[in-house]
């Protein structure tokens, strides 16, 4: 059903935008650096130079300068001040901010169109995965043989911490960012997100925080592990201040994005789009958004306390001053475990959507799937202390938290039932998204089962802090979430670019990454079982072979991801044209033309049934 659209060409150059006409990523970086220098300069004058906190105070002011400068440079403060002065955006301003008639430049500006923000999230996710991937290669190269031959321990420890945080950042936004922004508003029949300007704010605050997080490596690194436990983090240099500042900004960015997603789904669904006609991916996005809204303020306060300890001589986490690092551990993990489900649920929801379309069958037990996601996010707020079973914080709480943690395997089990149930007796179309989905199924079983071992307190006393834990969460993050994110990328790539992600290169990449994951993290399980602690720069000869195998596997994953990168870059411009609905799916985003018009729909769609009716000719327009 391709509607022919007459091009109402309005010849004039885009008017409006005011100051925003001159603001883009370039001015943002320049303003950021200038304000960072101003912050550095003021701090050196303002603070007393021979106090213990001086270098931290200067670093924090520099980071604050970078943030404020970057936001001024990109144009984030334009709207609040125009609101303050009462001259709201004119229609032309709104059109300009929506990136109307600006071609490729709109991707480098404070553009509010949810489709542009979606593409920007793709770029940010891929660059974060790139940086994290490079660090992963450095870590595995270091561990190829016992001894510290590649880099010394301090550099290695910084690589571990920044690899961890950058990858966590990348995976939090990997599915909810690009597809929660590009696809979800169209799926519910909305013209744009509820708060378009806040949408751009979330993206650009994430960029400013990610840049600061990566510069931590340049200012002395962060040799303390990504959980920045209070006691060891106190020994870190100014890199810790940059890290804490980046996290404080990142948590605000994610909370604002969650507000945006939830409001869009609650208030902007089109006529007829009742809750039980919502595509399952929309459910996944808002359940994640609610969980993130609850969880990320804890991370904000945990890192704010850390910043105050270092700059204002407070004693939140300093035993000598009456503080305790268990407070930091609790605040951190109150966010920490909900965070890993904020990472998992969007990928699972995207795979539900893909499984239904690719099997040409309705999603198996739709309500149970939604119920499982709700139950999982509810439970995930009650399990945080299983990260602290062995910390000695509250031995009597070992039992209760074992109970809540092991209950999580029930909703997670439902995910398998729904996924395989959808594929069962379907006409499974073995295209790129489907292949990555089968990879997900294989890896998520291993990731899920090994989670149960770690939830058993007596067994956790043997496995906690070993490479077994590292292998477990890599099977979940890489084996399940990354596979789901790549499946989503392959599935919605035609809607973004109008071209298929190259099938053949996608399969080469799949097999390389899949086999690489089994080798790398399979051998890592064995290292962990044999007793190799986590985050060790060097290790006993007993772990020689398993680490060597793990590193070989890591090189295989690297080459697989490079092939995927090559596929994305070449397919974006020169891939095989796909038309507006290559997978013949029923969800709304496939009923609009590609490239998607600025307002998504030419007239408001009316929904008469849920999007899982295959066989009858497409309805709903």
């Amino acid at each position: 059903m391709t509607t022919t659209l007459e091009h109402t060409e309005t010849s004039a150059e885009p008017r409006g935008g005011g100051l925003a006409r001159y603001q883009n990523f370039g001015t943002a970086v320049v303003a950021g650096v200038i304000f960072a220098w101003i912050g550095w300069f003021i701090a050196r004058k303002l603070f007393w130079s021979s106090s213990d906190n001086f270098s931290d105070q200067v670093a924090t002011m520099t980071a604050v300068g970078w943030m404020i400068g970057f936001w001024i440079g990109i144009g984030a403060f334009n709207a609040p001040f125009r609101w303050l002065l009462g001259n709201d955006n004119s229609r032309d301003d709104d059109l300009y901010y929506a990136g109307y008639k600006q071609g490729r430049a709109r991707y480098w500006k404070y553009t509010t169109d949810h489709k542009v923000v979606g593409v920007q999230y793709i770029i940010v996710t891929m660059s974060l995965l790139g940086v994290g991937g490079i660090l992963a290669m450095a870590i595995r190269t270091e561990l190829i043989v016992p001894g510290t031959h590649f880099v010394n321990q301090q550099v290695y420890n910084s690589f571990i911490a920044i690899h961890g945080m950058v990858m966590i950042l990348a995976l939090i936004v990997a599915v909810a960012g690009p597809w929660g922004n590009f696809v979800m508003p169209i799926m519910v029949g909305a013209r744009d997100m509820a708060f378009p300007r806040l949408n751009a704010l979330s993206l650009w605050t994430l960029v400013s925080a990610a840049v600061l997080l990566v510069t931590v490596l340049a200012v002395g690194g962060l040799p303390v592990g990504w959980v920045v436990l209070g006691t060891i983090a106190d020994q870190a240099g100014v890199g810790m201040d940059f890290f804490a500042m980046a996290i404080v900004v990142f948590t605000v960015s994610t909370t604002v994005a969650s507000i945006n997603l939830i409001t869009t789904v609650i208030t902007m669904r089109t006529k007829g789009m009742t809750l039980d006609r919502l595509p399952i991916f929309v459910w996944g996005t808002i359940i994640t958004a609610v969980l993130a809204l609850y969880a990320f303020p804890f991370f904000f306060v945990a890192e704010l306390n850390q910043l105050l300890d270092r700059t204002a001589s407070t004693s939140f986490y300093i035993a000598a001053g009456g503080g305790t690092s268990w407070l930091q551990a609790n605040l951190f993990w109150l966010m920490g475990h909900p965070e890993v489900y904020v990472i998992l649920i969007p990928a699972v929801a995207a795979l539900f959507e893909i499984s239904s379309t690719m099997a040409r069958k309705p999603l198996f037990s739709y309500r149970t799937a939604v119920g499982a996601m709700v139950a999982l996010s509810g439970l995930s707020a009650l399990v945080w202390a299983h990260h602290m079973f062995t910390s000695g914080w509250a031995p009597t709480l070992g039992g209760p938290f074992m109970v809540t943690t092991e209950l999580i395997s029930i909703p997670t089990g439902i995910f398998f039932l729904v996924l395989v149930g959808t594929l069962w007796r379907g006409n499974v179309w073995m295209k790129l998204p489907t292949i990555w989905m089968f990879g997900f199924i294989f890896n998520f079983i291993i990731g899920g089962v090994t989670g149960i071992y770690l939830s058993d307190v007596p067994l956790d006393e043997q496995l906690h802090g070993t490479m077994f834990v590292t292998a477990h969460f890599h099977y979940i993050f890489v084996g399940s979430v990354l596979f789901g994110a790549i499946a989503a990328l392959a599935y919605w790539f035609p809607k973004v670019t109008g071209r298929y992600l190259d099938e053949r290169m996608g399969r080469y990449s799949f097999w390389l990454v899949f086999i690489g994951v089994q080798i790398t993290f399979g051998a890592m399980f064995l290292s962990g079982l044999k007793g190799m602690p986590r985050r060790d720069a060097s290790y006993s000869l007993a772990f020689e072979h398993t680490n060597f195998i793990s590193t070989l596997g890591a090189y295989i994953i690297m080459s697989g991801m490079l092939v995927l990168l090559g596929a994305v870059i070449t397919s974006w411009r020169r891939g095989e044209p796909s038309g507006p609905n290559p997978w013949h799916a029923n969800t709304l985003e496939w009923q609009v033309p590609t490239p998607v018009p600025l307002e998504n729909f030419l007239e408001e769609p009316v929904i008469t049934q849920d999007p899982y009716h295959y066989g009858e000719e497409l309805v709903g327009q």
Partner: protein
């Protein structure tokens, strides 16, 4: 020029082109947004109070309100450093900091409550008379009250006593955990008051310039939701910090 750049026609576009969407729809949408923002703020304030109560409960080595060191108000930092360096410091004694003034805390809470009341009253009259210009002074008064609150918070932060403690090869300044937690809570209240002042100023200018008119007064109501929440959070945190503080 690709299809994406077709001139948008419809009235429906929320907040972007074709933007004279009906105020009721914009109000309904922004109301959900404000409530979710308040929800996130509730969790943040809860986390700050959790920090306060947790540290009080743990009271590691009795340092909730006392620390072995030298009272900060006797000398400045450099004077303590010189005393330390030429060894005439004497040995440190436990310094007990005592509770921060409940009066100032209740004053801050009262200012938030009164400013919220002024705003609400102004809103009621705006809704009744539809005269936006008359609302502007209410917004100004509310803003001024919050700015007074900012000053009071700054005074409280200044009152927090410092203690100088030896740190293996030098002397350094530190706060007890009670003072640290109070610094975070008072700092958070200060931040919220600055945000309220900004919002109040915005409402004042917008109503004076007629941007907030008869059918667009919902913007005041949305700001009032957040304002009332900040007042509630100020009262609740003050209630906690003034009643649950000393450790017997």
């Amino acid at each position: 020029m690709s299809i994406a750049d077709i001139e948008p026609q419809s009235e429906m576009h929320g907040g972007t082109p074709g933007h004279h969407e009906s105020p009721e729809k914009v109000d309904a949408r922004q109301r959900v947004g404000i409530w979710l923002f308040i929800g996130a703020d509730v969790v943040t304030v809860a986390a700050l109070l959790f920090t306060y109560l947790y540290l009080r409960g743990v009271d590691t080595a009795g340092h909730w309100m006392s620390m072995v060191g030298f009272p900060g108000h006797l000398h400045t930092y450099s004077e303590w450093e010189n005393l330390y360096n030429n060894g005439t410091l004497g040995n440190p004694k436990p310094v007990y900091v005592g509770v921060l003034s409940a009066g100032l805390q209740w004053l801050t809470a009262a200012l938030t409550v009164v400013s919220a009341g002024v705003l609400w009253f102004g809103e009621k009259s705006l809704r009744a008379t539809k005269n936006a210009k008359a609302f502007s002074p209410f917004a100004i008064v509310a803003m001024v009250l919050t700015l007074v609150g900012v000053v009071v918070c700054a005074i409280q932060l200044g009152d927090i006593p410092q203690i100088f403690v030896g740190a293996n090869d030098s002397i350094t300044m530190s706060y007890t955990t009670y003072d640290s937690a109070m610094m975070a809570i008072i700092g958070s209240t200060l931040g919220h008051l600055v945000l309220l002042a900004f919002l109040g100023l915005g409402l004042a200018i917008r109503s004076a310039r007629g941007v907030i008119s008869g059918d667009k007064w919902y913007q005041v109501r949305l700001v009032r939701y957040f304002w009332v929440w900040v007042a509630i959070s100020a009262v609740v945190s003050t209630l906690i910090t003034t009643t649950i503080n000393t450790v017997h």
